[in-house]
């Protein structure tokens, strides 16, 4: 029985085969890699957000956190990652959206030894610079990325980590995390 090429699934299969083969045939675009932005699409309180992959040191499914007797805001406990014990913070609490009900993912920050817990993970996108848009009203962040046709506010982890470090040092914490341009990060 010959496969029916009119079937959408068969078409998609052919498309995927062609794309896979093409990835071997096309020349490497190593020179353009500076313009490439890898983002991680996540979901907090049902809303889509994005994290810059360059800010992260790892991603793993959430596991039960070891309780830690501390009253730091957003601290969920201790998390283990590749032989390191890291403080686990609630990303939703850190961006001022209240406490998370059920976290399923941990993201390990690269800038500081801490882990961030969030609720949903939608995927990863490799974006071109044209997909990064400046936005003034996107939940307080200054930037948004176009992932799969939809805009996602880009969370600036550097400010959040600084705020956490500041609160741990007794500095007054910011009322809301600051949005910094990812130009620097993107520019690294």
């Amino acid at each position: 029985m010959t496969p029916d090429r009119s079937d959408p699934l068969e078409g998609q299969l052919d498309e995927w085969r062609a794309a896979f083969d093409r990835s071997f045939a096309e020349p490497r675009r190593l020179g353009d890699d500076d313009a490439v932005l890898d983002v991680l699409g996540i979901r907090i309180a049902g809303d889509p957000f994005a994290l810059n992959l360059a800010d992260l040191a790892g991603l793993q499914p959430a596991m039960p956190a070891a309780p830690y007797p501390a009253t730091a805001p957003g601290l969920l406990g201790l998390a283990g990652h590749q032989g390191q014990v890291l403080p686990l913070y609630d990303l939703r609490a850190l961006i001022g959206r209240g406490a998370a009900t059920a976290v399923r993912w941990w993201a390990i920050a690269r800038a500081a030894p801490l882990a961030l817990a969030f609720e949903g993970f939608d995927g990863q996108w490799r974006l071109t610079p044209g997909d990064r848009l400046q936005q003034s009203d996107a939940a307080g962040t200054g930037w948004a990325v176009r992932c799969g046709g939809a805009l996602r506010p880009l969370i600036e982890l550097e400010g959040l980590i600084a705020a956490v470090a500041g609160s741990q040092l007794g500095e007054p914490s910011a009322g809301s995390f600051t949005t910094t341009t990812s130009a620097g990060a993107a520019g690294r």
């Binding site: 794309a19 991680l40 790892g58 499914p61 990863q124």
Partner: protein, 486 residues
């Protein structure tokens, strides 16, 4: 009270006994007289022979004397005659006095005397022949012969006297017997006359009394019999009329019974046809029931297959969960590889491309898994829907089967009822035929009864006529026995 017949029989019996008595007495008297007569005759014969014997002895003496005197032979003829006849006379006399021993003794004595005399006569005759007349005369002069002769006469005379006594005695006996017979005849006649007179009086009284009373009874009974015969004739006429009416009604009933029998026969035919149709319907129902059962089995098979399909879809879902999990883990690994490539800087850029390709594949795998899961969910939903629909169909088939069972049971009941109806109709037909036969027999019996009633009426008329004749005969008989009009 003695009956008339008994009195009559008694009168005849007495008369017969009297006649028998008279006859017996007379017969015995005659018999006695006859016997006596025979004895008298024999006595006379004995007297005759005694006298003949005496006469012969006289002849012998006379001849002997004449010869002695004369010497001439012719004088001896009486002697010779006596010699020749004496033995015969003695032989004939002996049986005549056989019943009298005294006479026999006398006869023996006389016989000896006769023989002695005859011997004496013979000797004298011989002597005479041999001698002379004087010598003979001397012999005679001796008187021996005379003495012996006298003795013989004495004996003979006794014998004659004896026989004469017997004759007198027999005469007295005859007279006595004749007197008895006469007495019997006279007194028997008188007694018979008296008896007949008494019987006549008695029978006359009985005739005019008992028979008259009986005849009057007969007259009254005849009148009653006549009245009863009239009533019986009237009743028989009414009975015959009623029987005729009943016979007409029974004929109508017979016609109705035959109509009922015909109707019952038609009912039997229709019921048998209905039973045949019911049996055919039962067979069709049975076939339909088997078809429904096969359908039920097929539906059960389909349900089993669908449930199996559901279970296999579930297993495929589990496998897809596994695949999804692998895709997700691949995706995470690709992301982490990208992160590591990013950290590696320029050295990691090539690896970053491969990691991105791996991530894309993981994404596609995840998307495909989601689609497959959707498809599987659709399949499972379709399977569930099909199973539910099939179960609904199965329930419907069950309900249909139950309804078919009900219909089959109803058909069986109908068939049973039809059989019962057929049997009942047959019984009705049979009973009605038996009833018709019985009614026919009843009709025949009623006809016979009507005929018998008519015959009874006729015989009642004859009875009435006979009663009338009997009454007239009774009057005649009463006139005859009473000699006066009633």
């Amino acid at each position: 009270m003695w009956t008339f017949g008994r009195k009559l029989s008694m009168g005849f019996a007495l008369s017969f006994a009297l006649l028998l008595l008279i006859g017996t007495v007379a017969y015995r008297g005659v018999e006695l007289m006859t016997q006596t007569s025979y004895q008298v005759t024999r006595t006379h014969a004995a007297l005759t022979h005694v006298e003949a014997l005496m006469s012969l002895m006289k002849d012998a003496e006379t001849g002997q004397r004449g010869y002695l005197l004369s010497g001439e032979e012719p004088y001896l003829d009486p002697y010779r005659h006596a010699v020749a006849n004496l033995p015969r006379q003695l032989a004939e006399l002996k049986p005549l006095i056989r019943d009298n021993p005294a006479q026999q003794a006398r006869l023996n004595q006389a016989t000896a005397m006769i023989e002695g005399l005859m011997q004496l006569h013979k000797e004298r005759i011989e002597t005479r022949r041999a001698s002379t007349t004087e010598a003979a005369m001397r012999v005679l002069g001796l008187g021996e012969g005379k003495r012996r002769m006298d003795e013989l006469r004495g004996v003979i005379s006794q014998m004659e006297e004896e026989e004469n006594d017997l004759l007198r005695q027999r005469a007295q006996e005859v007279e006595s017997a004749a007197s008895g017979v006469r007495m019997a005849i006279v007194w028997g006649t008188v007694a018979g006359a008296l008896l007949v007179l008494a019987a006549a009086l008695t029978l006359n009284r009985a005739l005019s009394g008992q028979v008259g009373t009986a005849v009057k009874h007969v007259q009254r009974s005849s009148a009653e019999l006549q009245a009863a015969a009239n009533q019986q004739a009237a009743g028989a006429r009414e009975t015959a009329t009623s029987m005729t009416e009943i016979s007409t009604t029974i004929s109508e009933l017979l016609a109705t019974s035959r109509q009922i029998a015909d109707s019952a026969q038609r009912v039997v035919v229709i019921a048998e046809q209905t039973a045949g149709l019911a049996r055919g319907g039962d067979g069709t129902l049975q076939a339909a029931r088997e078809t429904i059962a096969a359908m039920r089995r097929q539906i059960d098979l389909v349900v089993d297959h669908m449930l199996d399909l559901g279970r296999k879809s579930q297993q495929i879902g589990v496998v897809m969960d596994l695949v999804g999990e692998l895709a997700e883990q691949t995706n995470i690994l690709a992301i982490n590889a990208t992160i590591e490539a990013t950290v590696a800087g320029d050295a990691g850029r090539r690896f970053s491309v491969v990691a991105d390709e791996i991530r894309k594949l993981a994404d596609r795998m995840t998307a495909s898994t989601k689609e497959i899961r959707l498809q599987i969910d659709d399949v499972r939903g379709a399977v569930n829907t099909t199973v539910m629909a099939t179960e609904t169909g199965s329930k419907a088939v069950d309900a249909g089967a139950r309804q078919f069972d009900d219909v089959a049971a109803t058909f069986a009941k109908i068939a049973g009822q039809v059989v019962t109806t057929t049997d009942a109709a047959r019984e009705i037909e049979l009973s009605t035929k038996q009833q018709a036969t019985a009614v026919e027999q009843l009709n025949v019996a009623l006809s016979n009864t009507a005929q018998a009633s008519r015959e009874t009426e006729a015989s009642s008329g004859q009875t009435s006529q006979t009663a009338t004749e009997l009454a007239e005969m009774s009057r005649d008989l009463l006139r005859l026995v009473q000699a006066q009009p009633t």
